[in-house]
């Protein structure tokens, strides 16, 4: 059964059906979109059971001709790394849709259409094993996200939307040149030109070619992650996007950059990657510390969460820069973890914003009095994000630090300092918003979490706890593919 094709096609089919639903029937639109995304999750979850953890290479491969003239195929498949990200996407999709149920009153049908298109693009990117297909999906996600930010975003949505689009596009055109150059190299040295990643891995590229290609790919992915100094689009886009947009942007879209590094840059250009690793590490450490320091300064609740992503994604790229199995496995798991914890934080900010229509931290304080359940969930989210043991964030960051420590104690030392800062700004945020007396009278009548809101946060809470308490199955999935990547550095 072409399982992955079905998984990929589902949101697209759902989108086409959605277009046939009259826009006035808003609840029907919502119901349908949620159902489609939930069905997608239902289709994705059994992958976890059926996935063979002891096998090398890709599984559930679907191969079809696409553009024979170019040697591009419609080629889908997953290994442990993409499995995690596909599951993350499939989980966050329905959560984002459910979280928007009441928030989107205007142009509802278009909103859910964009959400489904986005889901299609995100899944496609993590599933594709063909470089051209990968690139197409890399670009496809830009359009729906542009509209999500631009139509349903905050006050500065117009600015944020085009800034997001242009930054990512500027990176991806350089990535495109890199892809074309790699394809051309493949045409010179392989039996026939191809975009198939596993075929391209057989290339023995000279070091200077590798270097050029690595940095071309780097520009594309580093902007997407985003790494310092390419991060300036992120706070605007994340802050202005509607909750669903922020969740998917932080939870999934950022991972496209790190996934690109793991899937393409590192294995394809191992020598160049080894050369570039110190630079990546320094940029990552700068991101960790700089992101954390900026977060400390924020007055806007959502903007703080946005900047914290810069810091946390810095850990993911630091793990990659270590180029050993701890670092890379930790990085991938941390990508998954960041998807969970940041989505939680954005969801919670969104809930508060829906009630109070302000995001200024100064407007809150003592919310725990009126919203005890909310405060509890928020506490878990904060602890998860700041890396408290027994929750998911700890596992990822610890493994990354292990990996970094093996390579350089200095890296690890700086990064540990980032964790301290992370705890500082998150706990301080918690203190300023949740604890103390209820200062602002406007907050007195706030309702606690509704059933629908519980439904969006509960799966994430459970996952955070599950990974934190018993991380072994998650690493078991990653073991093979990570070893394969690390093996390429040994040669």
């Amino acid at each position: 059964m072409p399982w992955l094709t079905a998984l990929l096609a589902l949101p697209l089919v759902g989108l086409i059906v959605l277009l046939a639903i009259p826009g006035k029937a808003r609840n029907l639109v919502r119901l349908w979109a949620n159902a489609v995304l939930l069905a997608g999750l239902g289709l994705a979850l059994p992958l976890w059971q059926s996935f063979d953890r002891t096998a090398n290479g890709y599984q559930f491969v679907d191969r079809m001709q696409w553009i024979p003239t170019l040697g591009a195929q419609f080629l889908l498949g997953i290994d442990g790394i993409s499995l995690l990200l596909v599951l993350l996407t499939s989980l966050l999709g329905p959560i984002a849709a459910l979280a928007s149920w009441n928030a989107i009153e205007e142009r509802t049908k278009e909103f859910y259409a964009m959400l489904l298109l986005l889901q299609f693009g995100m899944l496609g990117l993590f599933l594709s094993l063909d470089l051209l297909l990968f690139f197409v999906f890399f670009e496809v996600v830009l359009v729906p996200m542009y509209f999500l930010i631009g139509i349903w975003g905050g006050e500065r949505r117009l600015y944020a939307a085009i800034k997001f689009f242009l930054y990512t596009l500027a990176g991806s055109v350089v990535l495109l040149l890199g892809i074309i150059a790699l394809y051309w190299q493949g045409g010179l040295h392989l039996a026939r030109p191809t975009f198939e990643i596993t075929e391209l891995l057989k290339l023995q590229l000279a070091l200077d070619v590798q270097r050029w290609l690595f940095w071309a790919f780097f520009v594309g992915f580093a902007i997407k992650v985003p790494m310092v100094p390419f991060h300036t689009w992120l706070p605007d886009a994340h802050t202005e996007a509607p909750t669903a947009g922020s969740v998917l942007l932080a939870g999934v879209l950022l991972k496209m950059g790190t996934y690109g590094f793991v899937r393409l840059s590192l294995p394809l250009f191992p020598e160049a990657a080894r050369e570039a690793a110190p630079i990546l590490a320094v940029l990552s450490i700068v991101a960790i510390l700089y992101g954390a320091l900026i977060s400390l300064m924020q007055q806007d609740w959502k903007r703080l969460v946005a900047y914290s992503s810069v810091s946390h994604m810095g850990f993911c790229t630091l793990g990659l820069a270590a180029l050993n199995s701890n670092g890379i496995a930790g990085s991938v798991l941390q990508q998954f973890n960041h998807g969970i914890s940041t989505s939680l934080l954005f969801l919670l900010v969104g809930f508060v914003y829906e009630r109070r229509h302000t995001r200024q931290i100064a407007d809150f304080g003592g919310l725990a009095v009126v919203m005890p359940r909310f405060a509890f969930v928020f506490a878990v989210a904060v602890f998860s994000s700041s890396g408290l043991p027994l929750l998911n964030g700890f596992i990822g960051e610890f493994t990354i630090l292990q990996g970094a420590f093996i390579v350089s104690r200095t890296w690890a030392a700086f990064a540990v300092f980032g964790i301290v800062l992370g705890a500082a700004y998150l706990l301080w945020l918690y203190q300023r918003t949740m604890l103390g007396d209820l200062r602002n009278e406007a907050n007195r009548g706030l309702a606690d979490l509704s059933l629908r809101e519980w439904a969006t946060v509960l799966p994430l809470l459970m996952l955070a706890l599950a990974i934190g308490v018993y991380p072994k199955p998650w690493f078991a999935v990653l073991e093979r593919p990570v070893l394969e990547i690390v093996g390429r550095f040994g040669r």
Binding site: Q65, W66, I67, P68, T69, L70, F135, V136, E139, V140, L142, V143, Y146, F147, G150, I151, R157, L158, A161, I162, F165, L166, L169, A170, V173, V174, L176, L177, I180, A181, Y183, W184
Partner: protein
């Protein structure tokens, strides 16, 4: 040399004869029937194009062949471009009907001139003799001068026509001068003879360079490439929108075909002399077109500047000089026909020219706004659209031939282009609607053309294989 014409000669000329005949028939009907002839115009244009198409197809069966002792060369290259002209003319004809009615200029001459222009373009693609080429160029040019000024009561349309006429005549003069030098070099007006004579001359021969300079100046004017682009924004803005689309596509692609014919044929041996020249023109076009487009407030003017940039990309394909580059030009031109006409026809449906006129358009008319996004994405060169394929091939050609810097410049401007194209999307989707509901110049023809261009632009991006095969086959024969 024999002076008898054979059947093959007539066969080679037939498409142009048919186009001219149908064009004249429309002039005549319009004169005889006056107002009553309106409904017959399209009834004559479309069959005329269909019969022409049938003959093009028949020509394709026996191509390549030459006629009139080498005056015309019917080959896959020429046929490919003629198919593009045919599609362009058909699309322009069907989208014009309602537009002309609204502008109250519903004259038969319009359709006649559209066909006449195409008859001239025919010789630019298949002509292999200088005088024939020049006559074709002028036939096309004069038709366009009249078409640009077709809104007689509009001052801007008149101004545009006058500008285009004066500058166009000037550029034709320069082109004719260049042709005379080529004749001087070879003692013959046949491209095959000129090729031999040019190849026999030393590298960087001053006379050859002078010929290259003058000929390229004349043609670059027609394809609106920098530094000969100044006329384009004014003319594109002033001309009736349907004519702007025709000018931006038909005239540009036809002149491009001539450029390829000359520079890859007779001037091919002087590549080292013209290559840096065209590379500079390409870079200048990309820069001028993209940067100037950013600040425009008029949508037609913005698309005019962007079409200068597109000329730059097409030139880059020629600069790369390998087979991939040629395939890139073919694919790019094909995509360009559909995405450009698509974008212009949506502007016609809005019946407004300022970018602000589009505010909130998507709320009122999503059926037009959504395809417009596809066209704009394609114009910018994003997947999955036809425009992406064109740019992909051009970049691949540049990288294959080691011109990395050119590739990087071309790629960087994609982001700039997206910025100004998406100003239209921003107006249509993100900004609140304007109060005044403008009349919507829609018609059945417009909607059919919208559907066709939209489907091809998106379809060729999602499943490009048949389109690539088509473009490939057109050049390999």
């Amino acid at each position: 040399m024999s002076h008898y014409y054979t059947d093959v000669d007539h066969f080679a000329l037939l498409p142009a004869i048919l186009l001219a005949l149908f064009g004249c028939a429309i002039f005549l009907f319009d004169f005889l029937l006056g107002e009553r002839s309106r409904r017959w115009h399209l009834m004559l244009v479309l069959p005329g194009l269909a019969i022409t198409g049938w003959h093009l197809w028949k020509q394709g069966q026996i191509a390549p062949f030459t006629a009139f002792h080498g005056v015309l060369t019917i080959d896959a290259f020429g046929l490919f471009f003629n198919w593009l002209f045919l599609l362009t003319a058909a699309l322009v004809a069907v989208i014009s009907y309602r537009y002309l009615e609204i502008e109250d200029e519903h004259q038969g001459e319009y359709y006649g001139l559209v066909l006449m222009a195409q008859a001239g373009a025919y010789f630019l693609a298949v002509g292999t003799e200088l005088i024939t080429i020049f006559v074709g160029m002028e036939t096309m040019g004069i038709s366009f001068y009249v078409l640009v000024g077709f809104l007689r009561r509009s001052r801007r349309s008149n101004e545009a026509a006058l500008k285009y006429l004066i500058l166009g005549a000037f550029s034709s003069g320069i082109l004719a001068y260049g042709f005379s030098i080529l004749y001087g070099i070879a003692g013959s007006t046949y491209l095959t003879d000129i090729a031999v004579a040019v190849a026999a001359r030393p590298a960087f021969d001053p006379l050859t360079i002078l010929a290259i300079l003058t000929v390229s100046a004349g043609i670059l004017f027609k394809i609106s490439a920098a530094p000969f682009h100044m006329w384009a924004p004014d003319v594109y803005e002033g001309a009736p929108t349907a004519v702007t689309a025709y000018l931006a596509v038909g005239s540009k692609i036809a002149s491009l075909a001539l450029l390829l014919r000359l520079f890859l044929g007779p001037l091919g041996s002087a590549r080292e002399a013209w290559e840096p020249l065209l590379a500079l023109a390409a870079i200048a076009s990309l820069t001028v077109g993209n940067l100037a487009a950013v600040t425009q407030t008029n949508a037609k003017r913005m698309l005019a500047y962007s079409s200068i940039a597109h000329a730059g990309y097409l030139l880059l394909g020629l600069v790369a000089g390998n087979t991939t580059g040629l395939q890139g030009i073919a694919i790019y031109s094909g995509a360009y026909v559909f995405m450009t006409i698509g974008a212009f026809l949506v502007l016609m449906a809005v019946h407004g020219e300022e970018i602000d006129d589009l505010n909130g358009f998507a709320r009122r008319h999503p059926v037009y706004a959504v395809p417009m996004v596809v066209f704009l994405l394609s114009l910018a060169g994003l997947p999955p659209t036809a425009g992406f394929l064109g740019k992909y091939y051009i970049f691949l050609a540049l990288i294959e031939s080691g011109r990395y810097v050119l590739a990087l410049v071309g790629a960087a401007y994609v982001a700039v282009a997206l910025f100004y194209y998406f100003r239209l999307v921003r107006s249509m989707f993100l900004l609140p609607t304007i109060e005044v509901e403008r009349p919507k110049a829609s018609s059945l023809g417009l909607r059919v053309a919208l559907g066709t261009t939209g489907l091809v632009t998106l379809g060729a991006g999602i499943y490009p294989e048949p389109f690539l095969q088509l473009a490939m086959r057109s050049l390999l024969k």
